[in-house]
């Protein structure tokens, strides 16, 4: 009887092994893989263009650097185009790719409220990769801030900037 139960135990053990062997843990969600393989809006705008805002951020411990740029319609304050360039891990590339998709066609006020948790959730990022989505959030904010700083410098624009509003909020 002991031998039987032992045999049964061993069979289940091997079967379990097989099962776990087949479903090897997938480290990335398919959306990350998709954005990594087909990143959207990769490229650069002229950073000296007055309609362009550039956000440049980095995670030094991993050696990642991320650039996100927005092109803004100065009359409506709408983001008409966005692009990014990221040198970093798959999660950082996917996060910035998603970020450009989300900011396109939206008002500047709206995009500063995009939270890293939304990006992370969308991409099902594991906890160790959360800082990649934070980097993307930082990049959006930095791009808006850069655009507003440019506008404030150009003559005839003295209204309070969005970045100031955001920081006081």
């Amino acid at each position: 009887m002991f031998r039987q139960s032992l045999a049964r135990f061993l069979r289940t053990a091997t079967r379990n092994n097989e099962v776990s062997g087949i479903s090897t843990p997938r480290f990335y969600h398919e959306r990350v893989v998709d954005h990594y393989n087909n990143p959207r809006n990769v490229g650069s705008f002229d950073k000296n263009d007055p309609h362009v805002g550039t956000g440049l951020v980095g995670a030094p411990a991993c050696g990642d650097v991320m650039k996100l740029q927005i092109k803004v319609d100065e009359n409506t304050g709408k983001i008409v185009d966005a692009c990014f360039k990221t040198f970093g891990c798959g999660s950082a590339i996917a996060s910035s790719s998603v970020a450009t998709e989300w900011v396109k066609g939206r008002q500047m006020e709206e995009v500063t409220t995009i939270k890293n948790t939304e990006i992370a959730k969308h991409l099902s990022l594991p906890p160790v990769k959360l800082h990649c989505s934070m980097l993307a959030e930082d990049a959006i904010k930095a791009a808006v801030k850069d655009y507003e700083a440019k506008r404030a410098k150009s003559p005839g624009n003295a209204e309070p900037t969005l970045a100031e509003k955001a920081s006081s909020a």
Binding site: L56, V57, G58, K85, A142
Partner: protein, 271 residues
Amino acid sequence: MWRRKLQFSASLLPLGGGATSSPPPPFSNTIKNYPPFISHSSTHNSFFNELNQKRFDFFSWGFKNYRFQLNLLSAQSFCSDSGKFKCWKCNGAAFLFCEACRSVQPIDQSVDYFQILGLEKKYDIEEGSLEGKYKDWQKKLHPDLVHTKSQEEREYAAEQSARVTAAYRTLSDPIARAIYIMKLEGVDVDEEERISDPELLSEIMEIRESVEEARDTQTLNRIQEQMLRELGNWSRFFADAFQSRKYEKALSSIQRMTYYKRAIEEVIKKL
């Protein structure tokens, strides 16, 4: 006062621990003294053991506690002096490994990587000198060498050997060494830090773009040389900043070094 306490204990040791029938030789002389020391103790050990067992059992509890306290004391106040570490088996002087009874010692976290590799605790080191020291330790501590010994000692060997490897890897890499020496000073590098320094980041962006766009080996080699130069410069800058305790500057040098190292890795991938 502590010194006196230690001297006092040294005179107690041969009396109390039956196994340690002769005073431990100083660490540096152990190799020279090794054969006579062993022959002396092996002749008398069992005799003394039996004789002393009965006499000193009564005191053993108090004595053990006293010895434990003493070990703590010596580890704290003399951690740079390897002669002050006591072997768990024979109570002789032992640092990582006891030359007298050939046993691997348990890990002592107060010993840092610099001490393990026999270096002064400073950033500028001769990287080439590490390998020899590392190999010497592995000849004594490697788990394969103790497979016939007790479970306890096999565990010590696994841990010590892994720690020596970690020490070698950490100290032979300029960035890892910088992070480690900062940690010893109580300054941790924030792994999740995010920066927006436009000057640094646009420089890095440009470098990474030039690596990406490089089409021939010559260009890649040129970039790699430039990166190695930067790495060297910032490594020296780190050494100065660390020496003068300017930890903010030291941390930013580590950031730069990490970025340049990443660029080098990318170049190597393409070469």
